[in-house]
């Protein structure tokens, strides 16, 4: 008579998973004492996630009715991740890709700030408990470098600058005209940051010389 099939009830699976976590992560001595945490890569962990079949609402841990931000996998370009299917169960365990160019980036968090309202709850616990060293996995990172930051032009700000610049330019030209009529033909100093003014000054200089020579009236 052969051996019976191993039981695969959820209770048995939970016990097996717990055994796997203990065997993988906890280093124990021969006499059963806990020595510490085994320093191995999370990608070597066998088996499924501890709570892989959690519902979506269960996967997103909540506190004070605010969704908690969690470390996410990001692609080559930073993008907001959203499940294409609503209420789709998401695995909670770390999944490491096995592709060329996969890089594990560990960055030190500096100038940590906590925002009121639990909008940024990356720290689950207390400050100083070394919980801020979350690794961020960037898959398919080209040349192991992040893309440079691209700052888009602000339309409203640009229009305001342009309006201010035109007003300044008009006022400055009026002064130049008055100064030129008073001091006669001369070459005005240019303003480096406004080449358009320089061109208009040059035109004004020709006209001014014409005025001073009597070939043209002001």
């Amino acid at each position: 008579m052969g051996r019976a099939e191993p039981e695969t009830t959820p209770l048995h699976q939970a016990a097996v998973k717990l055994s796997q976590i203990l065997a993988h992560d906890v280093e124990m001595s021969a006499d059963g004492k806990v020595k510490g945490i085994r320093q191995v890569s999370a990608g070597d962990r066998s088996g499924a996630a501890a709570d892989a079949h959690a519902a979506f609402s269960e996967g997103l841990e909540r506190q004070c009715c605010a969704g908690e931000m969690i470390p996410q996998f990001v692609h080559q370009n930073g993008q907001a991740l959203r499940s294409p299917v609503r209420e789709r169960p998401l695995a909670l365990a770390l999944e490491l890709g096995d592709r060329f160019g996969d890089v594990l980036v560990e960055a030190v968090v500096e100038r940590l700030e906590l925002i009121v309202g639990n909008l940024r709850i990356l720290l689950d616990g207390q400050l100083g408990n070394s919980l801020a060293d979350y690794p961020t996995v960037l898959n398919n990172l080209a040349h192991d470098e992040a893309h440079p930051q691209q700052v888009a032009a602000v339309k409203d700000g640009a229009l305001a600058e342009l309006s201010w610049g035109r007003r300044w330019m008009a006022e400055d030209l009026d002064k130049l005209v008055q100064l030129g009529l008073r001091q006669g033909p001369r070459r005005f100093e240019c303003v480096p940051s406004f080449p358009r003014i320089l061109r208009r000054k040059t035109t004004f200089g020709k006209k001014e010389r014409a005025i001073s020579d009597g070939r043209c009236s002001a």
């Binding site: 209770l11 939970a14 055994s19 993988h24 059963g32 510490g36 999370a42 996998f73 919980l131």
Partner: protein, 121 residues
């Protein structure tokens, strides 16, 4: 194939706590009891909190290695306790007619600790 969705990184402390919490839930389902009842009976009520490391969980001296080890020992003790309970439930729930010979479960407690999945190489 690109990975879609989000993954959560759990350290060993939270991973063990989540495993215990999940085992307690499955144990409660199996015994038709409330999870709080089962956890209270086993003295593992703290694992039903949201986090084992917050103010709702266990106070831990994170600055010292010994303080962190205390939490780890507590987690391992809780995991062994819930495994022991699961083992008892599984053994008592086996019907007599379906028990031709004792089967060795995938997980087993030993005096030296845990015997189950092979440790990583």
């Amino acid at each position: 194939m690109p990975i879609e969705g989000a993954g959560q990184v759990l350290d060993t402390y939270n991973l063990l706590a989540a495993g215990i919490r999940r085992a307690l839930r499955r144990l409660a389902e199996r015994t038709a009891q409330r999870t709080q009842t089962v956890a209270k009976r086993l003295g593992l009520l703290v694992y039903l909190e949201r986090s084992i490391k917050g103010q709702a969980g266990v106070s831990v001296q994170w600055a010292s290695k010994a303080g962190r080890k205390v939490l780890l020992e507590k987690l391992v003790h809780g995991a062994l306790r819930v495994q022991q309970e699961i083992q008892q439930v599984l053994l008592t729930a086996l019907p007599k007619a379906c028990e031709p010979e004792p089967t060795e479960p995938d997980f087993q407690l030993s005096p030296s600790g845990i015997r189950g999945a092979a440790p990583p190489q």
